[in-house]
Amino acid sequence: MPRKVQVQTKLNGEQVEFLCEPRQSLLEVLRDELGLTGTKEGCNDGNCGACTVMFDGRIVTSCLVLAVEAEGKEITTVEGIAAGNELHPIQQCFLEGAALQCGVCTPGILVAAKALLDQDSNPSEEKIRFWLANNLCRCTGYDKIVRSVQAAAEKMQEAR
């Protein structure tokens, strides 16, 4: 049986080292080996976006990344969005805007939305909808999600 592989990576700002099988996805290792269950599995083939994480500055579906590919990379999950006990504006706006119902797509959407706001401080509704098209939500119809991303953009601009 092939050996496990040792991987060093930067996860939510901290250096992490783990052992994994080459066949294990980043999603699987985050959840089962590293205990970061905030990242969700909805389809395991890249079509729902619930497992979205930041991977070297881009959002990816972590079910379509092998854990071994994380060697030397930087990863941010939903657990890494808040600054300590201080919620990120996108998190605060999702709460105030009732942008979540069941909440299972929320972690992936928050990671994706934050990535958008980090590169575009004032995205149009169309841009938000395009950017989030890989993140399925079945509860909300997206209305309150899009509005909450817009609200977070305003909030972040005021803070600047």
């Binding site: 083939d45 939903v78 009732a98 979540l100 069941c102 972690p107 939500c137 509860c139 509005r147």
Partner: protein, 766 residues
């Protein structure tokens, strides 16, 4: 009525409240935006191993043999189970709160016995050290099948000589058992007035046939369960479910355990919409745990979810309606044939209760057929059955308006059901909001806004869902700092912890932050029926109100004791206890709370309800579309959703239900379907090809909440979870008709279907 909760003289929604009607942040919110909330798949236990389920590759086949020896020999495999590990249910029946069900149907769906009845039907299961090993071991199980011809639609299954799914299923004809072996489990009828006479009186009669595809609830979180069969014989289950007590009772029945030996902990749940009511993998994980001595977790794959869990029925519907030239509807007839899937129980009874419910028609006849086919055993889906039915009825109502040259909303208003209208299935309506919803639609700016440009059209439709009551329990404990902890048993899918807590806070005059609500396991609260039927805010909310009143009454006695006055002289207003007996005594809730221990001990308020006075809810849509006449693609330009909420306890969550239901209705209307090949294989069992709407496919969904207080609830609340999914397909069909003059009578109305209808209209043969 004898039940005190039914208070016919109760509030109208014009009344204002301190907490009810506000928009506080949900109590579980922070956990859900930081990734801390624990959903079923997040559960872990010492020694946990992983299960996987082997599913049938055939839509219909006899199981000749199952050989698990190779799988058992796999070094990483800890246990293998098949149907042989579960006792034969015989003709035992169970009552899971939704009427009597044959246990064998549920049990044989959990693990196939003798026959597989759909592709994806569970046949065996394996537990191993890792998911990868378990999946690998599934390939080592050898099953010998004798394939049989599948029947995939209701009309096909109803034909004489159709291949039969069950050797022992006979038709119940108009309430009476027969000995006719058939795929039709039952045929029932509702009659009102004289249907012949009704049509004879009509100046205009329209009759059409409609087909709707099987669709799935599409929750983003796959089914999951973690089970531990303890050495003392007790079973613990952690699972994402809408009904922990249903899972407990079904699992106990299947495994022949007393319910006291089974404890189910509902985890956070990633959507359900009716699909997470039935039991699938919980008894299987429990058996794997018993055999292996380890706790076992099973998480379904997306394909398992689509092929192995209950979608909602496809249907074949005939509707005939008659109207007079003055716009009075005089007769309506429907034949509803719904696909139950592998086992009886298509959602055709609720369909029959909703198909004409919006209209006051003197002569009605409704025939319903519950038909088994070789597709997954169907489950509830948000107003189950009603969306299919409204797609048919609303098409004809709008067509009548067009032929009579009257406004489609006016025709509906002229015939709208109201208090006292007798439904075809018997009962008269209590106070309902059908007229108010229609009036709100008519006066909404969207309805009068100009819609210019070619290939554009506007559509309207309405729908009714009766909602459910059912049992709920709630306990409230008073803390010394004047806060309360509220314990209930309704899994929270959309913020109900908070909408329930708000109702207790309203009664006790507390700020919502002073209420700490929890959804607890089946050992920790009284029986509470499923989170379904739009019942939680209504029924569990009512339990919370009653428990809060119990707290209030007990605290009044304590205040009286402290003041040495008669309890009758003590009143409670907005969180303050007042005795005006001579000298006025006042004490706030927070001042009394720390004195409870010394005045007789802690106070726990409790309530268990099974409330009548359920207020049905009407919903309506106005939708504008543009069609690409060269591709048949429908683009939604504007969408407004209307619904009677009775009293919106938490308006943001009411809007959320309306927007979510609308989005699901839109997906059902335009793209979603079980695309089956002739062998009964679902060809699109992934979230890529089972096309649910993405953020880019929808516009903003404007909402208009109508509040016609429900006399059956102290604050006037009506359940709002379901009715909102009913009108979208019908409203979109109407809009498409007005845009390009085609009549869409089949769901989904996807680009191919629209294009073919356009070709047909233009006489294009190729």
């Amino acid at each position: 009525m004898s039940d005190q909760s039914y208070e016919p003289s109760m509030v109208l929604a014009t009344k204002t409240f301190d907490v009810v009607g506000t928009r506080p942040v949900r109590h579980d919110g922070a956990d859900k935006v930081t990734g801390r909330a624990i959903y079923g798949a997040d559960v872990t236990l010492p020694g946990l191993i992983h299960g996987a389920v082997l599913r049938s590759p055939h839509a219909h086949a006899r199981i000749k043999s199952i050989d698990t020896s190779k799988a058992e020999a796999h070094p990483q495999v800890r246990a293998v189970v098949t149907s042989a590990d579960i006792a034969d249910a015989g003709d035992k029946t169970v009552d899971l709160g939704e009427g009597l069900t044959r246990l064998a149907f549920i049990r044989n769906n959990v693990l196939a016995r003798a026959k597989v009845l759909y592709r994806g039907h569970a046949v065996a299961a394996v537990a191993a050290a890792s998911v990868h090993d378990a999946l690998e071991a599934l390939n080592l199980i050898e099953v010998e099948y004798e394939p049989l011809p599948p029947v995939l639609t209701a009309p096909e299954a109803m034909k004489e000589g159709a291949s039969l799914l069950h050797d022992d299923l006979t038709t119940t004809e108009l309430g009476k058992p027969t000995d006719k072996l058939s795929n039709v489990a039952s045929h029932f009828r509702h009659e009102k007035g004289d249907i012949e006479k009704g049509f004879a009186d009509a100046d205009l009669i329209l009759e059409k046939e409609f087909d709707t595809s099987t669709v799935h609830q599409g929750y983003i979180e796959p089914h999951n369960t973690t089970a531990l069969w303890n050495n003392d014989g007790r079973i613990q289950i952690w699972t994402s479910t809408q009904g922990p007590f249903t899972i407990r009772d079904t699992t106990a029945a299947i495994l022949e355990k007393p319910v006291s030996q089974v404890r189910v902990t509902p985890t956070e749940i990633g959507g359900g919409f009716g699909g997470k009511i039935p039991v699938y993998i919980d008894p299987v994980a429990a058996l794997l745990s018993k055999k292996s001595g380890h706790p076992v977790k099973i998480v379904m794959s997306r394909a398992d979810v689509l092929e192995g869990t209950g979608p909602t029925p496809g249907s074949h519907i005939k509707v005939k309606m008659g109207v007079k030239n003055d716009g009075t509807m005089v007769a309506a007839q429907a034949s509803l044939a719904y696909e139950a899937g592998a086992f009886p129980g298509a959602m055709v009874i609720p369909a029959s209760m909703c198909v004409f419910a919006a209209y006051d028609i003197p002569n009605v006849m409704i025939d319903g057929y519950d038909v088994v086919v070789n597709k997954p055993s169907t489950a509830a889906y948000r107003a189950p059955g009603a969306t299919n039915a409204a797609f048919a009825t609303e098409n004809i109502v709008s067509a009548m308006a067009e032929k009579l040259g009257v406004d489609p909303l006016d025709l509906r208003l002229n015939n709208a059901s109201k208090k006292g209208t007798r439904r075809a299935d018997g009962p008269k309506f209590p106070r309902i909001g059908c007229v108010e919803v229609l009036e709100a639609m008519k006066s909404h700016p969207h309805y009068s806004a100009p819609l210019e440009g070619p290939n554009r059209g506007r559509g309207v439709a309405i729908g009714f869902w009766f909602n459910a009551g059912l049992p709920s329990a709630c306990n409230i404990a008073v803390n010394a700092d004047g806060s309360i902890t509220l314990v209930e048993g309704s899994p929270d899918i959309g913020g109900t912890r908070t909408s329930i807590a708000m109702q207790a806070a309203e009664v006790l005059g507390l700020p919502i932050e002073n209420v700490s609500p929890s959804v607890v396991d089946t050992d920790s609260v009284g029986y509470t029926a499923v989170t379904g039927g739009s019942r939680v805010t209504f029924a569990t909310g009512l339990a919370a109100i009653r428990a809060a009143r119990d707290v209030r009454d007990q605290m009044i006695k304590r205040a009286a004791r402290i003041w040495g006055v008669d309890a009758d002289t003590v009143e409670f207003e907005k969180g303050v206890f007042i005795s005006r007996n001579g000298t006025e005594n006042r004490m706030t809730f927070a001042e009394l709370a720390p004195q409870l221990a010394a005045t007789g001990g802690p106070i726990v308020g409790r309530a268990g309800v099974n409330p009548p006075g359920v207020g049905g809810s009407f919903a309506g849509n106005i939708v504008d579309v543009e069609i690409d006449p060269e591709t048949g693609k429908v683009t939604i330009l504007r969408f407004t959703a209307f619904q009677d909420a009775g009293k919106a306890i938490h308006p943001s969550y009411v809007e959320g239900q309306m927007q979510g239901g609308s989005a699901q209705g839109i997906g059902w209307a335009l793209n979603e379907e079980y695309f089956m090949n002739p062998d009964g294989k679902m060809m699109n069992s992934s979230l890529l090809d089972y096309r649910m709407p993405t953020s880019l496919d929808l516009p903003m969904i404007d909402t208009c909440i109508i509040e016609v207080a429900n006399p059956g609830h102290p604050f006037g609340a009506r359940g709002v979870g379901e009715a909102n999914i009913i009108p979208p397909p019908a409203a979109l069909a109407h809009a498409i008709h007005n845009a390009v003059d085609i009549d869409m009578r089949r769901l989904p109305m996807n680009p191919v279907a629209v294009m073919e209808a356009i070709w047909q209209k233009n006489g294009v043969t190729d």
